[in-house]
Amino acid sequence: MSRHHLTDFELMILLAILRIGDDAYGVPIAREIEETGGRSALLGAIYTALDRLEENGLVTSSYGDPTPERGGRAKRFFKVTSKGLKAVKDTRRAFTALWSGIPQLKGGPA
């Protein structure tokens, strides 16, 4: 079985898309990563990662209507596919397994 190994940035993007739901396009994804993930992210880097995730079948995208404040450009909405969801779960399982049993990480704040 081929398994896609997510980088931490890809994982954050997928989680941000899942948290946002139907309105997941570049701006809210960047905001979610910044506000909830506590990490500043360049839009260019987010799109590069999203293109890669789409190539690997972990997300799909569709275009909305163009708006004047966007200079007549349409929004590109992203959705996590079932393969993407599985990759997120696999990554969480791997992290949890690696996390457990480390004495230095016990008892501290999360």
Binding site: V27, L42, L43, G44, P66, T67, P68, E69
Partner: protein, 198 residues
Amino acid sequence: MRTPPTIASALLTRFGQPNAAFVGDLLEQFQAGKSRVWFWRQVIETIVATTVGDVREHPYLASRAIIVGHASAWVIARYAMFDLLHYDEWLFSRGLVGWFYLNGYGFPEWSLWPALGLLFAVSGWIVARTHRRAPPGILVVYALSVASLHLGFGLWRLAHPLPAQAHLVGVRECVPLAVCAFLGGMMGQQEHQFERRV
């Protein structure tokens, strides 16, 4: 509605992410109150990332652009613009400026900058015209190579016993000449035919 920085927008369209949705996201955030500095930072970092990606994907084209650019600059300097680049010698040999030299007045080195700027603008134009099917970031690579070459030359001159004023010539030249190469290339890129895989 606020107007985003014109030059940054033009650079983004030509050298940055080709994705229209990405450009729309940038404009939306700018309209929502992000600063011009933020916009410029996004554009510059995007162009850098796109250029690095282009060079990784097309190393042969990037190398060829650098070789073509510097070779054409050398050929033009040697055969087409020799008199212009050595205009002080040309004038002196015709007895037109002898009085100035005899009385201690020479031409400052910066007086050559317009001719050098023209030379590298033409070389950038040639790079763009001979690489119309290459990614536009190739031009950024050539401009950076011009800057690196002159910076290296300037630092090399620093290590050699030349008159104090001449030491910084190569260092000072590196940025304006790279800009000239870049602008010349932009003029040659008007009919760009590269199709990026989106």
